[in-house]
Symmetry: C2
Subunit: 236 residues, 2 copies
């Protein structure tokens, strides 16, 4: 672990990094569709359409649409693909889509974020919508100084504008910011823009053993979880 320069602001990826989206979504699927649907498999198929949907926005093929809208389109497509279209009505589709608003944090996150917030400004820099991130924060008792990222900027990561305008909104140059994420691609973009990088391992993000254990690039801090990242940054 290298010497960590003083950072004023911590920007956080949310899905996977702070919240266990797969377990939360799979449980909602089980609630709504019953035990004979494989919730984990449906959650994976749903999430697999996330990046391509955002790519269509990033490429300019379609204008910016909130993640809630993309999630719903992707859900409709996945249900059709899995032969479930006739079985799931409008109300249930809405309940399923709302699962992304109440994702549960990984266990150590709420306490670690309190520690990190003592000496840093903290904000999500996520592809989630503002209301989605606000709801996730309320679900888990997380306190943010501001809610930044795609909903603030009107573009999706990894567009550089999302990182730079989030830092700028807090009055910071990139080198005063650490991007915290469980995904090397996210940290690679941030690093390329001059930001510090904090990797948090989420080896089970996509199911047991299916997540990043180690970053694929040099980072300023690599931690097993957010509590260890707080230790590394000297949080009380």
């Amino acid at each position: 672990m290298s010497d960590v320069p003083r950072v004023r602001v911590l920007l956080f990826d949310v899905f996977g990094t702070l919240v266990d989206w797969r377990t939360s979504v799979a449980e909602r699927i089980a609630d709504v569709l019953g035990p004979d649907v494989d919730g984990g498999a449906l959650a994976d198929a749903w999430r697999a359409r996330y990046r391509p949907a955002m790519d269509a926005v990033r490429s300019g093929a379609r204008p910016y649409a909130p993640l809630d809208v993309l999630h719903r389109e992707n859900l409709d497509a996945v249900l059709a693909e899995m032969g479930l279209a006739d079985r799931v009505g409008e109300g249930d589709r809405r309940r399923l889509n709302r699962a992304w608003h109440t994702l549960r944090a990984w266990p150590e996150v709420p306490a670690a974020l309190v520690r990190l917030r003592r000496d840093h400004l903290v904000a999500p820099c996520s592809n989630g919508d503002v209301d989605m991130l606000v709801s996730i924060a309320r679900t888990n008792g997380l306190i943010w100084d501001a809610v930044l990222g795609a909903g603030f900027v009107g573009e999706y990561k990894p567009s550089p504008a999302v990182y730079l305008r989030s830092a700028g909104a807090l009055g910071c140059r990139p080198e005063e910011v650490m991007m915290v994420a469980a995904h090397s691609w996210d940290l690679e973009v941030a690093s390329g823009l001059g930001m510090r990088t904090g990797f948090v391992a989420r080896p089970d993000e996509h199911g047991p053993g299916r997540g990043e254990r180690e970053p694929s690039l040099p980072v300023d801090v690599a931690a097993a979880d957010l509590a260890e990242l707080a230790d590394a940054l000297g949080a009380a």
Copy 2:
């Protein structure tokens, strides 16, 4: 006081409504320029240029510029006007301009906001920049669910987009939102857009006896301060 329908979100004006900008700025002026400058008068002259500067943005005469930039231009103009230009160097001008980042809340605000946040999402809908509002929140221990308003939308109140896009960011229709302000003009715009309105009296905002005691339009709640507004909304 009329029956108040259930509102999910409270949007707050900040300058004057939640913070005593005049006293805070006057004290900074006294710190920086010494006792022979009338801090209150300079603060008033500085603030008097606030609305015209934003009007230039709203009219399209100039592109959106953050409030920090407008404040600084206005400070330079006021110092020149008052014959103080030669006496105040760059460092002191910066210190003066930063006064707007550490404005102190009116005394009852922090505790009342905690009460209001229990049952409502709360966010500033101010003409302040995001970093300015974040710093003011930290100065006073205020907790926001999100930081909305001009810095989020890239336009200044009273442009309707500032109110509507702030409500939209929290997933709300206007009628689910109450705009809280000490200024009738602010509530008039919000009301015209279908929002609920909460007036908080700040009779000393511009100095003793120079502030709005009563709203000049019908409002859903009129309160003597934010604690009374919390009472009226049934906050525990």
